[in-house]
Amino acid sequence: MNLVIGAFTIGLILSLLSLGMLISFKMIKFTDITVDGSITLGASLTAVLIATGWNPWLATLMAFFAGLLAGAITGVLHTKFKIQEILAGILMMTALYSINLRIMGRSNIPLLDTGSVSSQTEQLLTTISGGADKMNVFGWEVPVADMGALFSSLVLSLLLAIVLNYFLKTHFGTVLRATGNNPQMVRAQGVNNNTMVVFSLALSNGLVALSGAILAQYQGFADVQMGIGMMVWGLASIIIGEALVGKSSIGMTITGAILGTILFRLLIAIALRWGLNPNDLKLVTAVFVFLALVAPAMFKNLGKRLQKVRSHANNQ
């Protein structure tokens, strides 16, 4: 049960990353590798700020702003300086690696016995359960701290999902979605498509950094390596989400991204439990994303071939 709760919590926290990537990867169709750097940026900045006594909420908010800035720079590199999108992301990600080391002053910062954004929820739950440090959930004894983290990440994830869903349906959000679809059309409607790209990447990486900030507080440390492969994990989550609920509307797409992230974390937890070597995790994820990307085309080809074979058989 603890395993499941842990996977759920991390899934919910990382769903903010998936929501951010939904904006870049799905809405403006920008493959943005800044993500690997900006999630660490969020984590390291928050860790340092909390360690020096900042209010966890304020520290988390700062992480969001730092992410905004990182994404905006990637956007400017691409739109203003005409650097290819992948390269713009790689440049920013590489720069962020040093910046994150600078922020932390070393490669790892532990957060022990410091407050976090789920402290209040934990206190509330402790009060409800009468001061015990374990509570009964469907017959399982679960640490109150874990439930607190689960609840707060659930609330935060839902809240952001609702705001994002609303935002993408506004006049501004509608044009944002059109930017990835047809930038020429967006210009013809009087909107600077480059500004939309910069804005979207900023918002996207803001959410990613937010995710990193909360992740650091949950797992109790920030590490300069923690972002490696995160972008591919986000992709995997989005792909799973799409397969799960489709993309018939914005609401469904958002729901899919969240459910996809949680399911992905559960799958990972189960695979690790069954003895998958943690070192192989990124390889497995990469292969999975590869398959998910090529599978639709392969199925189509296979279908065509089968049809051919069948019509041949019929002719004879």
Partner: protein, 270 residues
């Protein structure tokens, strides 16, 4: 209304691929007039329209709309004044988004984009009412992705979008050329109706001599980046398709003659 003064555009200047697409083109368009631009392939028609729309900044010359110099403005800023329909029926709308979402964007062309829900009931009713006029049954499909429609349907919607907010200038670049004959006729018909109803100032590139004779009240002919004929008023009313073809022939013969003379001279003197 629109005053173009001596604009030029050279692509790949100074290379072997150099193309002088526009050579000191000047053109004045009166408010409320409908002008067709015809000419051979590569004569610079699209380049002229692109220069007006702001796809690129011309090398020299000025473009004014109602006295405002716009030749240095970026494309998106000019969209405030200019409505546009492209040759490619897929270029004017966002395929994955619904008909209603596409139109709602056009309803605020060049205006602010507030953080309010874009597609709601009242707006949809207004959209349905206007889309009905296309007589394509699209008013019942407002929530379908626009990418699921035919080229003709999409082009009709693009035309409606470009003119939803009355543009100071409507630019049409062979907007019926990629359609099947039936859809092309339908879109041409719609173009005429909308331009007349809204009293629009329009500039239309076309390869169809028939369209050039039937729809507009002025015909401009381009050749090699220059305007070589300008038929308006009385002249335009008398002109028929054979006359246009004849003019084309003359221009092409003149050119052939020029080239053969040039070759002769070369052979003799070099």
């Amino acid at each position: 209304m629109l005053t173009i003064n001596n604009i030029s555009k050279t692509f790949f200047p100074g290379t072997i691929n150099e193309v002088k697409a526009l050579r000191k083109v000047s053109l004045q368009i009166k408010e409320g007039s409908f002008t067709a631009i015809i000419g051979t392939n590569g004569s610079g028609k699209s380049t002229l329209l692109n220069a007006i729309a702001g796809t690129f900044i011309p090398d020299e010359g000025s473009i004014k709309i109602d006295g405002t110099e716009i030749s240095r403005w970026p494309e998106y800023k000019r969209a405030r004044m200019i409505g546009r329909v492209f040759q490619n029926p897929f270029a004017g709308s966002a395929a994955d988004m619904t008909i209603a979402e596409n139109i709602v964007m056009a309803m605020r062309r060049g205006q602010s984009r507030p953080l309010k829900i874009a597609v709601h009931k009242n707006i949809k009713a207004a959209i349905a009412e206007k889309v009905q006029m296309l007589k394509m049954g699209l008013e019942d499909r407002l929530d379908n992705p626009i990418g699921t429609l035919s080229g003709g349907q999409r082009q009709a919607l693009t035309l409606l979008m470009a003119t939803w907010l009355k543009p100071k200038l409507l630019l049409l670049d062979e907007h019926t050329a990629a359609l099947d004959p039936k859809s092309a006729a339908k879109v041409a018909e719609l173009t005429k109706i909308i331009i007349e109803q809204e009293k629009l100032t329009a500039l239309m590139v076309t390869h169809s001599m028939q369209q050039a004779v039937d729809l507009p009240d002025r015909i401009v002919m381009m050749h090699r980046g220059q305007i070589v004929e300008d038929l308006r008023d009385e002249m335009k009313h008398r002109v028929r398709v054979p006359d246009l073809l004849e003019t084309f022939n003359i221009i092409q013969k003149r050119e052939l003659f020029d080239e053969s003379v040039a070759r002769l001279m070369k052979e003799q003197y070099i």
